[in-house]
């Protein structure tokens, strides 16, 4: 197996006194989609927040590209190319679609690169180009998800942390979103995906971790987990 680009080792995180993660180990190999599954409150979102630095790991280490990023502030972690698209999309209200995208390239110095990426995003999501002057928060849920993804792409991510990209979307859009995630991965982006829709997540992921009460409860190849009756029973609700 290739050297992981992102390695989470024995991480423990807390919200105040409440422990959310109890020694989580995750390895993300370059070019893969790694899914993080689990029920509500299992610690999926906290895992992503701890990697991106919004929540501090009290114990354990996080390495990106061989470098220890455990104690870095979130904006420096983002600067290194670990881009977190949080749950609920967080479109900047009152800023236009274009301004939201431009802020995605805040860390990109070269204006030519910014323009090029903007053109790429508009090509991938033509609806964003049509709505570029509208307030980003007035877009529909699906369009906002595209904007959130487009904004992350403006950054030129090395690893994308996606938190529930399908949340709140109509079933048709859920499938479409997953297809986009798959396409982004095929274009070379490494993805750590937190997703409620276990069936779809396992379909596009290479490897998956199952979290329970802040611990890794199970892990394995996505295809193998998809066939595991107990996983299916517990998380697919089938």
């Amino acid at each position: 197996m290739t050297e992981p680009v992102l390695r989470v080792e024995q991480v423990e995180s807390f919200y105040g006194k409440i422990q959310a993660l109890r020694g989580v180990d995750i390895e993300v190999a370059p070019g893969q989609i790694i899914a993080v599954l689990g029920s509500n409150g299992a610690g999926k979102t906290t895992t992503l927040k701890t990697i991106s630095g919004l929540v501090r790991a009290q114990v354990g280490r996080i390495h990106f590209d061989g470098e220890d990023i455990t104690r870095l502030p979130p904006h420096e972690i983002a600067r290194k190319g670990v881009v977190h698209v949080p749950e609920g999309r967080h479109i900047l209200k009152g800023l236009s679609v274009q301004e939201n995208l431009e802020l995605g390239s805040f860390t990109v110095r070269d204006p030519a690169v910014r323009r090029e990426r903007m053109a790429d995003v508009f090509e991938r999501f033509p609806i964003l180009s049509e709505r570029r002057h509208q307030d980003g928060s007035l877009l529909s849920g699906g369009e906002q998800q595209m904007l959130a993804l487009g904004r992350a792409l403006m950054h030129g991510p090395r690893v994308l942390l996606l938190d529930e990209p399908s949340m709140g979307l109509a079933p048709k859009l859920v499938t479409q979103t997953m297809r986009i995630v798959k396409q982004l991965n095929e274009a070379g982006t490494t993805i750590l995906l937190v997703e409620q829709n276990v069936r779809l997540a396992l379909k596009i992921a290479h490897y998956a971790y199952v979290l329970e009460n802040g611990e890794i409860h199970n892990q394995g190849k996505a295809s193998a987990l998809a066939e595991d009756e107990s996983i299916v029973q517990a998380y697919l609700g089938a």
């Binding site: 991106s52 979130p74 904006h75 983002a78 967080h90 009152g94 301004e99 904004r151």
Partner: protein, 304 residues
């Protein structure tokens, strides 16, 4: 009765006053935007700006004179120096309070206000200081209406500063980041924005604008003293609320509206100029009762 000239004169006076209000209100509203603090020391930052501008002009007037060139340098130096003071205040007094309950930081702002006022008080013995300039007394005369060159130039400088700010906020990456920080700090961090640096830049600009207003007001009205920031600070706050606190265009608009209203308020029969503050703050109360979000404020409930 020269009613028409009086009317026009009130507009001119209102615009001058309104420009000062607007420049200070901008700092209020920007700082509120990024850290949700009503910076009650902001009026005193304006006062310090007036004193720094006065000090600079006194130092250089022997060489370059106290005309427009000298005043221009005084404004510029005061903006830079007081802008930096604003950043220091933010770092020393407000930064440690950001995670504390909201009331703590508000009380800190009042304390900063007292520190600035009392520093100026002890340095000046509480006396008025004459702000002498050599800007001439020329002006444009239209019948009985007189518009001094000073008024025109000061309003123009204020206008240029506001245009520059508008361009900064809408066209530059840091300007957009400033708006973004006032909406969603965590998302900004995830985008790679150094939020703490954006907050510092906001204090730099906001305090710099107040310093420009202070120096210009000192030059225009001819005297400065340690308490000059108190009332105008409250009025700039009123202007920011009228415009919709958090809104940059709103602060400009609110400042001008308040300046004009106050100027016209002195014309209303039986309400002499001694009532103008009552007039101003009655407007504040009316706005808070009937349109708490201000003219351009967001209609949603503020995330206090």
């Amino acid at each position: 009765m020269p009613a028409f000239e009086t009317f026009l004169q009130a507009i001119v006076n209102g615009l001058v006053l309104g420009s000062f209000y607007a420049l200070i209100a901008l700092g209020y509203t920007m700082i509120f935007g990024v850290i949700k603090l009503l910076n009650f020391a902001h009026g005193d930052v304006y006062m310090v700006g007036a004193f720094v501008g006065f000090g600079v002009l006194s130092l250089i007037s022997g060489v370059v004179g106290a005309g427009w060139f000298g005043l221009g340098i005084a404004i510029l130096v005061s903006m830079i120096a007081v802008g930096c003071l604003g950043v220091i205040i933010q770092r020393v007094a407000y930064q440690p309070m950001l995670s504390a309950p909201r009331l703590s930081i508000l009380i800190t702002a009042l304390a900063v206000s007292l520190v600035l006022q009392n520093s100026a008080l002890s340095l000046t013995d509480g006396k008025y200081t004459a702000f002498r300039t050599d800007l001439g007394f020329g002006g444009f005369e239209f019948g009985r209406l007189f518009i001094s060159h000073q008024a025109v130039v000061l309003v123009a400088i204020a206008g240029l500063l506001m245009i520059a700010l508008e361009l900064f906020v809408s066209r530059t990456m840091y300007g957009r980041a400033m708006r973004a920080v006032s909406i969603d700090k965590d998302m900004c961090r995830l985008l790679g924005i150094n939020v703490s640096r954006v907050v510092a830049i906001t204090f730099l600009i906001g305090s710099g604008l107040a310093a420009a207003a202070g120096t210009m007001a000192g030059a225009y009205y001819g005297s400065i003293w340690y308490f000059m920031g108190f009332l105008i600070g409250l009025k700039a706050f009123t202007a920011a609320v009228i415009g919709g606190i958090g809104s940059i265009t709103g602060a400009m608009l609110g400042g001008l509206i308040l300046g004009l209203l106050e100027s016209f308020g002195t014309l209303v029969p039986f309400i002499g100029s001694e009532w103008k503050d009552v007039f101003t703050f009655s407007i504040l109360i009316l706005v808070l009762v009937f349109k708490p979000t201000g003219l351009l404020g967001k209609s949603e409930v503020e995330r206090m």
